[in-house]
């Protein structure tokens, strides 16, 4: 991430510093900022930037002090506005006289507003802002699903895309794409690059052309056409230094010469930010139904809508058996075949939209609690000012003028709170971007923009309105004449205001319950995920991808990998080594295929057997710590002599072969293989997924590509392991690129990043909610007790027992709290199912979590009520009554 100076002070500078000084000031501040990052870190640099910017603005204001005189200003401005300004000034002064009250109110509001603005900033960038293409809503992705094949989604295939192009009328263009890993080399230094292969129609579908050079022509995507490539803007900058003459350069891709024909614009991101290179994709127009895994995007034709397109694609499914004669309608039913046509944006953000909306809702609750707390403070203050207001109204102030007093005070509070909230949001957003899950899509687009400022402003004004209205209502309900008579003292305070207060407390407690239940469920999910057995020993396992690139001669590739493994095994501290074409938890590429079993020939129309498979070397199972349950482990000779053998997982053996797998023969991709061993299951697609049938074959099996192998090394902890791995591979061939060396523990943790992220934020929000809620409860009960001092004094004087008084106050507080807990439990019960997709092996209505939260909140409420209750019981009747006099 590039380090930018904090957004807010920089914008403020642009607004407040005269333009003739801005050049110098902005430049100096930028320079200092970068220098301080290097010297003492980014947070110190940010802090000093704020200080320096503030000092410069104070300075700039002094230059400008040729302000109009008050008289000149008054002229031409209508009196109402002037009164309003006057009232605001009055309110500011009144607040300045009560700094503690003002500080608490502003800080509470700032926390609530800041949290909301921070999450909104992310929601705005990720979910609300349209994709950076023209008419992005008209781009749809068509995906096919075949749960009967043990795969949730199979995307599309060349055959299906060809048939849709011929038959569907809803689209003006349809493109296919497929992810690639390519070895790019140019003048010696090799690099493994994530690339996307696309059909030339993609540029029409996205309606985006390269910023320099040309897009792919139909001729580029012919079989055997000369290879061409287009760079993304980021890759052009990082690898080619933004060289304007890059178009026309020749680079080596997987050992073949390729010409760079274009550079995409800066905002172009497809399909993800890690993709650096675009190459042409050839799709066989006569391709079959299978060969899935090709993504398909289309742009709606003029006149077509998402609905009509969806209906057309759904209807076309009935013709699939007619298009592909080797397929029957029965087969499709067996696959559980279905199709979905969704806007591209929904797909890009599908994984995170639930998380983000839940977080957004969560911080909304936090603001509600914060607002309720400030409202309570505000009410107390409003009441203490009743006499002043009564006098003002007796002297002729109108009701609206009195209302303005409250509104202006709440406006001042909310304005300062909102500004402070923006500062908090600015910092919190940087934290989110830095520490948020790296797989959050569009994270690079997160920034404070006009939408965010409008949102912050609206939130502040709404808070101010709500506060002002509440105070005005609670005070102006009584005739003012009465206020003058007994303003602020004497009789017990009207019950109506206590009702407002109780309502606020019920809301706070209920909200805290909802948030605590939510975070409790997340905590339990993460605990469950941490306890999942991935099927192999994660600790001490280090992996690196060795990328030889596409090779013609398979036996030489096998030999190369064997030599690399031999070198790795020789490193000090290394106890076991092995390699596989794909690793569990976060597989880079995993092959899937239907297969046959010799001992049980498929009957007509039955669902074919389906398994995932990959290639493994000698030592792989042992290094991973996967138990060998039957048969023998892989040996070097299996690959060297191209033995037709396979190993299968426990689930495979149970599901297809009644646990007796060794000695059976299976056919994968046209080759018959003898099962010679059974190994334990692993979590192939991540901790959340079920165990799936897996088959493993030797490296010599031609159905698995050998362009990248992932070496796994079990070793004692060592800081220099990455360098030693590199050196060991260099001793075989220094021109072969390695992917980053990663610890398996990190890979597992990354796979849980989104869940942990949501959990952390929910726990923080729930903690704030709990603290604010308890403080609110304590404050209100204390206040009620202090208001009832005289009444309690009389009771005690008339012979009430102090323990009875204590019980009375406790009952009152706990009654309100219990109502809040009850409302909260019902609300949580209704709302937690929204977060079901984030949970793992925990019901959204987990009784233990609900019960624990209810008990905790009741206990905490009891504690918060006990203190004022004890004070009430300790009231000295004589003094209470004398005060009254």
């Amino acid at each position: 991430m590039t380090r930018r100076p904090p957004f807010l002070p920089r914008t403020a500078l642009r607004l407040f510093v005269p333009s003739e000084k801005l050049e110098e000031v902005d430049g100096d501040l930028n320079e200092l900022f970068h220098q301080r990052i290097n010297e003492s870190g980014v947070w110190h640099a940010r802090m000093r930037y704020w200080q320096d910017a503030a000092s410069v603005m104070r300075q700039a204001r002094r230059f400008r002090r040729v302000a109009p005189t008050p008289e000149a200003r008054r002229k031409g401005i209508n009196t109402m506005l002037f009164d309003a300004l006057n009232e605001l000034k009055h309110a500011s002064r009144a607040l300045a006289k009560r700094p503690a009250y003002a500080a608490v109110a502003v800080l509470t509001l700032a926390l609530g507003i800041g949290a909301n603005v921070a999450i909104f900033t992310v929601v705005n960038a990720v979910l609300l802002r349209p994709l950076p293409y023209p008419e992005p809503d008209r781009i749809v992705e068509i995906r096919h699903h075949a749960p009967g094949l043990n795969m949730a989604t199979v995307e599309s295939s060349p055959g299906l895309i060809a048939k849709y192009r011929q038959n569907a009328r809803s689209f003006e263009a349809m493109a296919g794409y497929d992810m690639r890993q390519l070895n790019l080399s140019e003048a010696g230094s090799p690099e493994r690059v994530r690339a996307v292969a696309v059909t030339p129609e993609l540029f029409a579908v996205l309606a985006t052309r390269p910023a320099a050079g040309r897009a792919f022509a139909a001729s580029d995507a012919q079989n055997n056409a000369p290879l061409v490539a287009i760079l993304t803007h980021a890759f052009w900058q990082s690898r080619f230094g933004g060289d304007p003459a890059v178009v026309g350069r020749i680079v080596q891709l997987d050992g073949k010469a390729a010409e760079i024909v274009g550079v995409m614009p800066r905002e172009f991101v497809f399909p993800d930010p890690e993709t650096r290179l675009i190459v042409p994709l050839w799709l066989d127009p006569d391709g079959g139904f299978g060969a899935f895994g090709i993504g398909s995007l289309a742009r709606l034709a003029p006149g077509a809508t998402l609905d009509t397109a969806r209906r057309e694609i759904d209807q076309l499914q009935q013709r699939v058996p007619e298009w592909f004669p080797d397929l029957t309608a029965n087969d499709l039913a067996g696959f559980g075949w279905s199709v979905s046509t969704e806007p591209l944006r929904d797909r890009v953000v599908a994984n995170v939209s639930t998380t983000l909306w839940i977080l957004f809702g969560t911080v909304g609750f936090v603001l509600l609690i914060a607002g309720a707390n400030v409202a309570n403070l505000f009410l107390v203050r409003a009441e203490s000012r009743q006499r002043e207001l009564a006098v003002r109204s007796a002297l002729g102030a109108s009701r609206s003028r009195i209302a303005w007093t409250f509104v202006s005070e709440s406006l001042v509070l909310a304005a300062i709170g909102g500004l402070a909230g923006l500062v908090i949001a600015d910092g919190a957003t940087s934290l989110l971007v830095t520490y948020g899950p790296a797989n959050l899509p569009r994270l690079q687009e997160v920034r404070i923009d006009g939408n965010v400022l409008v949102f912050a402003f609206t939130l502040s004004v709404l808070s101010a309105m709500a506060l002002g209205m509440l105070a005005t209502l609670s005070v102006s309900r009584r005739p003012f004449a009465m206020l003058v008579r007994d303003g602020g003292r004497g009789s017990t305070v009207g019950r109506s205001r206590h009702r407002v207060r109780r309502l606020l407390i019920v809301t706070q407690v209920a909200t805290a319950v909802v948030l605590l239940v939510g975070s409790g469920l997340m905590l339990r999910s993460v605990a469950r995920l941490n306890a999942v057995n991935p099927g192999f020993r994660v600790e001490g396992l280090v992996t690196t991808g060795v990328s030889l690139g596409a090779q013609r001669d398979r036996s030489r590739a096998v030999m190369f990998y064997q030599r690399v493994l031999d070198e790795l095994a020789r490193l000090p501290g290394v106890t076991a080594v092995g390699a596989a074409s794909s690793l569990p938890i976060a597989p880079a590429s995993m092959k899937g295929s239907s297969f046959e079993i010799r001992s049980r020939p498929a009957t007509q129309g039955a669902i074919p057997f389906f398994t995932m498979y990959n290639a493994v070397t000698e030592g792989y199972f042992e290094t991973m710590g996967m138990p060998l349950l039957a048969g023998r482990a892989p040996a070097r000779a299996d690959a060297d002599q191209d033995r037709q053998v396979a190993w299968v997982s426990q689930t495979f053996a149970r599901q297809f072969l009644n646990e007796r797998a060794v000695g059976e023969w299976i056919q994968i991709e046209g080759r018959w293989l003898e099962i010679v061993g059974v190994v334990g299951d692993v979590k192939t697609f991540g901790l959340r997924e079920d165990m799936r049938p897996m088959a493993y074959v030797p490296l010599s099996n031609p159905s698995v590509g050998l362009d990248v192998m992932y070496a796994v090394v079990r070793s004692a902890p060592s800081s220099s392991l990455a360098a030693s791995l590199r050196a060991a591979v260099d001793s075989v061939d220094a021109s072969v690129p390695l992917t980053t060396t990663r610890r398996m523990e990190d890979i597992v943790r990354t796979s849980m990043a989104q869940t942990s992220f949501a959990m952390t934020l929910l726990v923080i929000a729930a903690t704030i909610a709990l603290v604010l809620g308890v403080v609110g409860l304590y404050g209100v009960i204390s206040y009620i007790v202090s208001e009832r001092t005289s009444e309690i004094g009389i009771r005690l004087a008339l012979g009430a027992n102090p323990p009875d008084v204590r019980a009375m106050v406790l009952r009152q507080g706990l009654g309100v709290a219990a109502l809040g807990v009850a409302v909260g439990i019902v609300a949580a019960f209704a709302s937690t199912r929204l977060m079901a997709s984030l949970l793992y092996e925990v019901s959204a209505h987990d009784p233990a979590t609900f019960a624990a939260v209810a008990v905790i909140l009741t206990a905490v409420s009891a504690a918060a009520t006990y203190l004022p209750a004890r004070r009430a019981a300790g009231i000295d009747p004589v003094r209470a009554l004398r005060q009254e006099g």
Partner: protein, 109 residues
Amino acid sequence: MKDQRLAELEELALLIVAALGQDAYGVAVQLRLERDAERRIALGAVYAALDRLERKGYVTSEFGDATPQRGGRRKRMFTATPAGIRALRSARSTRERLWQIVEATGRSG
């Protein structure tokens, strides 16, 4: 008539401008103040001092070059004028005279 005397911060800033020669601009002056004079001073105060020095005719300024670190913004480069150097000299000699008195009376502690 304008006050032509040097305040303490102005004197330090002017000294630094003179010492830096061709390389005197806001950031450099602030860093010198922080490192050599061991004073943490906000950038705004540095500008204020430099602006006052310019109004008194002790420094002149013009725009210099831009660097990528500055986001393409140009520097404002300061040079001490002969009047500025004279003012520094006179401030120094005033101090030296006073020090001689302090030392002669043996009250330097």
